[in-house]
Amino acid sequence: MKKILAILFCLGLVGALIGLYMFNKPLESVSSMKTNYSINASDLLVAFEENETSANTKYLDKVLEVKGIVDKMESTEEKTTIYLDAGNPLSSIIFQLEKSDSELKKGEEVTLKGICTGYLMDVVLVRGVKV
């Protein structure tokens, strides 16, 4: 009887610990996530410009690898933002980087991986990393 209680207690403790772990789990790094779609910067912008609803259905929350040329970079204390040229002077593909990356340079062709959050004037991806 005592044994069963002890086992139950242990199981309960393990369950509680797993629960606590799950609850406090930080965001997973995108670099270890599986890529859903690989696409060119201009193709991605066109997909949202032509039909935002269907592009949302396809790309929202998905892990995307986007290839393009770095058009502009903006850094604050908290965030680095990369603009990929998408063949349109007003709109681009915007990546918020997971952490600042000093290797990225303007004019360079890169592939960035991130999670697609949707379209405002630009297509915005967050938690970006260089592939």
């Binding site: 789990k25 929202l60 949707g118």
Partner: protein, 185 residues
Amino acid sequence: MKKIVATLTFLALAIVTLQAQKYFSKTGEISFHSSTPIEDIEAVSHSASTVFDVESGKIQWAVLIKSFEFEKALMQEHFNENYMESSKYPKGVFKGSIKNYESIDLTKDGKYTAEVNGTLEIHGKSNLIETTAIFKVENGQVSATSDFKIAVADYGIEIPSVVRDNIAKEVEVKIKTNYELLEKS
């Protein structure tokens, strides 16, 4: 004749400059904070878009709900899936105007208090917002900050009773951004 041409050129330039009085940013920061004795919840987006038209005093903000980042993965999931239904309502949009825009001169260094009112649409529901914003011009660089409170219930966001005590009824929203002058191409 030369004088006329010069005057006309000057006028044309002046008009172009006047029309170009629009400021924008695509990296506006919006954060919100919910505080209860049980739990503090905080999230931030660094990719809000905003345009401020100095000539008319009109100001707009838009943010993608999915661009809000939380410290805990599970919180972010619940926020998107259960509360904000961000696949159905992907954006939060504020459209408003600045009442005293004539007293704000963004070409001169200084600090200006703006009275802002307009409509905030989140989760498919719109409500009026009235707040103040501070515009700061330092060495020609324009920045703006504002904060206000919104009631979760006003936007049709249902919080299940199990976690009702964990989430504040009023959420504090803070916004800040650096504005760039929109150049005519």
